[in-house]
Symmetry: C3
Subunit: 462 residues, 3 copies
């Protein structure tokens, strides 16, 4: 009797714990909105705010209607195309009787809430990259598509009970029975969102005046407020605890030790990532050191830590964060100076490239004992550097996972957005872009008392 009561307790504790973590992930969304609005010009303030609120709302609805079943329903076709949509639709578990309601239903409710908040994050990554020029309806389609279809399928791969890449898959004959190590979504959140952001940035083209022909460096664009950037970034760092801590999913068994490590690793990763970019920037150009760069360094390290936070030594996690800082600085430079892509909030360097690094790092450095704490005693894989028999398979699966995500995002996302572009709906008109979304589409300037005087004045003296 007692053991039964106790196991019930664990479910309750799990439900409360996961609810709190889901709320934190929700808070990260606030940080996203704040960081993005801090990075755009004053004339596009309302536009970017609306996109952030809308993607939160639209993601929740589309994940609820379609995504939940795809992500956490019973596998269809070996788990490659996600779970049964019908398993999630309108949360059929509502209909279970009261006595059963204390068990699996609770788990499915809380996991739905938790994963729903993840899906909003995955979608919102795109909004920052194409800020100041993407049309509202095109972004509506992009957000709905990512959170309702693209993201959930990848979640199913690595988190679903029978996902083809899940490390906890019960009857795992495929892929050497080790699945992929993506503890808190370096792959299914950040590579997914980052890859979509990359493609949309490419398809939509740069903001007016961002690049000049024949000039390698981009023209600097004003950013509205370093306060919003930094406070927003810190709120993301705060909310991100929900991702990394919550992904432990249940407090049952020895994985509590993994959870405890995660809080530390999360904090230290952000710290080391920030310090690394600080050191690089101060070394390269001591007198133009910008706060948003340091915050982006922290966020890059959080992305990279997400795949491995529960099953890695703390000292190694510091090294992963250190490398993440470099990857951010380098790929950010590549984006603007080499590929000449106009990603307003460096979403691609932070989420895409460091998401890939996170998945690879997890495959290289995860410790077997910690993996068993997290995924169960039966788990046989380990990070490549520890030299166990399944090590190469773990790394191979990580590569396969990254490639699969890129292909999946590309074949589902690009054709739709390409069609939208073809019909001229992808981008706001040139005139709207010039006067700004606020005046053109959202009822007037965002700071009327300040702007009217300033910009009238500007017009007069120039």
């Amino acid at each position: 009797v007692n053991v039964y009561l106790l196991s019930l307790d664990i479910r309750k504790a799990d439900a409360v714990f996961l609810n709190v973590c889901a709320m934190l992930v929700f808070a990260a969304q606030i940080g996203f909105a704040m960081l993005e609005v801090g990075s755009v010009r004053v004339k596009n303030t309302k536009g970017i705010l609306l996109k952030n609120v809308m993607d939160l709302c639209a993601s929740a609805v589309s994940f609820f209607l379609i995504g939940y079943g795809l992500a956490l329903g019973k596998s269809v076709g070996g788990g490659v195309f996600g779970g049964r949509v019908g398993d999630g639709f309108a949360m059929r578990t509502d209909n279970l009787s009261g006595s059963e309601a204390t068990g699996d239903v609770v788990v499915s409710y809380t996991q739905a809430f938790f994963t729903m908040c993840f899906s909003a994050t995955s979608a919102t990554i795109v909004s920052g990259a194409v800020a100041e020029r993407c049309s509202f309806r095109a972004y509506f389609v992009a957000a709905t598509l990512v959170s309702g279809l693209i993201f959930p399928v990848v979640v199913h791969w690595s988190w679903g009970d029978d996902g083809w890449l899940a490390p906890v898959r019960s009857q795992h004959k495929l892929l050497s029975s080790v699945g992929v190590l993506d503890y808190a979504g370096s792959g299914f959140v950040h590579v997914v969102g980052g890859c979509a952001a990359f493609w949309l940035t490419y398809l939509i083209g740069p903001r007016q005046g961002r690049f000049t022909k024949g000039k390698r460096a981009p023209n600097p664009m004003p950013q509205q407020s370093p306060v919003f950037q930094v406070i927003g970034g810190l709120i993301m760092w705060y909310g991100w605890y929900g991702f990394t801590c919550g992904s432990i999913k249940t407090l049952a068994g020895p994985r509590i030790a993994s959870l405890a490590r995660v809080g530390l690793i999360h904090t230290l990763s952000g710290a080391v990532g920030g310090c690394t970019v600080m050191a690089i920037d101060l070394y390269l150009e001591p007198n133009v050191f910008m706060p948003f760069r340091m915050i982006y360094g922290s966020l890059s390290a959080l992305v990279a830590a997400s795949a491995s936070a529960a099953h890695i030594h703390i000292s190694i996690s510091l090294c992963i964060a250190f490398v993440a800082g470099f990857i951010y600085v380098i790929t950010s430079h590549l984006m603007t100076h080499v590929w000449r892509l106009d990603d307003v909030v460096d979403a691609v360097p932070i989420h895409f490239f460091n998401g890939i690094w996170g998945v690879i790092a997890a495959a290289l450095f995860s410790d077997k004992r910690f993996l068993q704490q997290t995924y169960g005693e039966a788990y046989a894989g380990c990070g490549l550097v520890y030299g166990c028999a399944k090590g190469p398979a773990v790394l191979g699966n990580a590569m396969l996972y990254i490639v699969s995500i890129i292909i999946w995002v590309t074949v589902t996302f690009v054709p739709v957005m390409w069609l939208i572009k073809k019909y001229g709906w992808l981008r706001i008109s040139s005139e709207q872009e010039r006067i700004g979304t606020d005046a053109a589409l959202h009822g007037g300037e965002s700071y009327p008392e300040f702007q009217s005087a300033i910009f009238n004045f500007k017009d007069k003296i120039t």
Copy 2:
């Protein structure tokens, strides 16, 4: 022995859980302050900030001294006028001995903390409605009155163990033994605060220049910052999880299943409410779609969801949120264009009208099995649409509850504020309003470095 230890554990878990939820409700207060300051003109920035900080502080003190006993003390006179003030004063439970301290005392402490945060919310609803013209001392009286007297009595009605409308009332012969369904305060927080806001808006009159005689539409007033509006609204949405999740109050028994559903319903309600207003606004005026409207749609849906979040099917909650969006749009139009009341943050449409809708919706659509999960197996009522014997009584009680709240708020709040108005203390002077509260009362402009140049310049060119 084990069962005893276990039940102790539940109390502990409850205390921790309710503390976390109370903190979240506190966070909602931060969102309120931010949303309100974003909605006023620059010249009244410090004024509205001070009112928000003051109502938080004054509410806590007045709820502690008077309100707690009224709300959660032993019933006096059948629970109509609340509980014994003396039960709460200075928290006499301090004096209980250590051994008892692990039981009821813990519960009373945490419920006091939790309900105290609710009371601040109830008071703060008023501040936004009468922003930019209400005097500091008049608002001080209003806030103290609402949180120390008006709100606690209504809490006692539906949450007190022997409140005359409490669904969990042990010896419930009145009202067909079903009480009223107001799970997380659509009525006792939002109808209460919204009704007080309505009356004060009516008594105080509009801001200077808001309405022109003979012109139906109000004159637009600048709003300081859409960023503060949206970020503040999102922080409210985040903190609101504390309301809806915390109102489950104890993790004991099967109600954990209700809790798990609440997180989902809360998130989806906000999402659907926001999307509904978005769709309406885009349909009516495609090119003046404002971010604060979408956020107000989300908040309206959260208000409407509060009465029923624990005992409703998820798919029905989506419909409630959808209707809430329409109610917001319609009543917001009625307020400004028909009744010509100047409610700066749409507090009345959001809190009053959607609070009423929430209480009615709970009486219409609550599922009996979920009600029993939440209020105990003995609960015999159900939503009207499910056709159980007590269904009509549930709806009747809801109507009685709404009418009672409106009468109670009116007879306690209006005479006091009317007297204050009669003595000329309700509103700042016309001159103070013209130059703004900041310069007149709070030591100077809020953004001296920006404003001095801009407004000097304005004076010169105009």
Copy 3:
């Protein structure tokens, strides 16, 4: 078997609880950054933001590498100079085997995370005091020194198992076996940070133009935004729940009753502190009542409450908060008008003087039964006013503790900063200070779209 499982549960619950509290303390850091940026001039926006992000990052790393061992390692030399650094370095506990991992390792991880967030707070107190003129590298040294060395040693004194002043010290023959009462860091966080802030403010001198020779009152300096000040202050109040609630550290035993009281006391203290400063300010100068003053009153009361929140009667805590409001108003006046020290965010009045008051108040008013709930049945001390045998020793230890902290901070912090000053690295150049850190060091103005027009315009008309 059941009891074992249950005690395991408590550890798990502790880990989750402390993780959540650590996240809240992290959130307080966001509030700090926001409050500070709101208090500086526009031209130093990026500078102060960077210092806040940097001190968070640098603190985490230096606490991890050095501080953790000093703070919570096995005592060296009777606990006077902290614990063994090697106990913490790189978290050797990583190496423990899986089966042990559910016990002490979890505790050490979570305590490391929790205390790490405290250390960042202790360091960040300094940044606000010397804002707008301290060089980045000097502040880097200060932050690293405080969080890596100065703070951890004091933590060890009162929190370490064998700290020489710890109330829970097992074999406590020193100091009448009662240690010092510093529940949540009035001393080890706020007196430490406040004392360092005092010295650095003294060493670095005031901002250009802050004081005029022969004129007693300081010249007012513009503050950027009352919104950031107030919202930042409220976020601190919110995050501070992590300090006071989390310091209970374990949910085992009867201390849950203390925890439940803490939430109430925390909320009420902030409320009373704010109201007190409001009343004083309205009494002294009714028409220049500023919002930041009220928030500073709340924060002062939170500092003062931190030492005693778990073991004091609620009604007495209100009195402590009331006195804290007066202490803030008086010492703030002393700082600016008598000692002519330029402390940009009143860090010294809030943290240093009210930290001292908090430690003394705990020694005066702590109730014996609550102390036993918090520190175990064997604890023999009580607040002086209750007249138990060990009362005078409790007060004596509090005095010794305060004096020891001041000496410790002075001998470790002052020589280092004095050397830095001697080599001319302490302060930015006079020219950099004139044009502002943003333009001089951080890539240009913070609000380019607003500032370019305004400040060009200013130059033209003046």
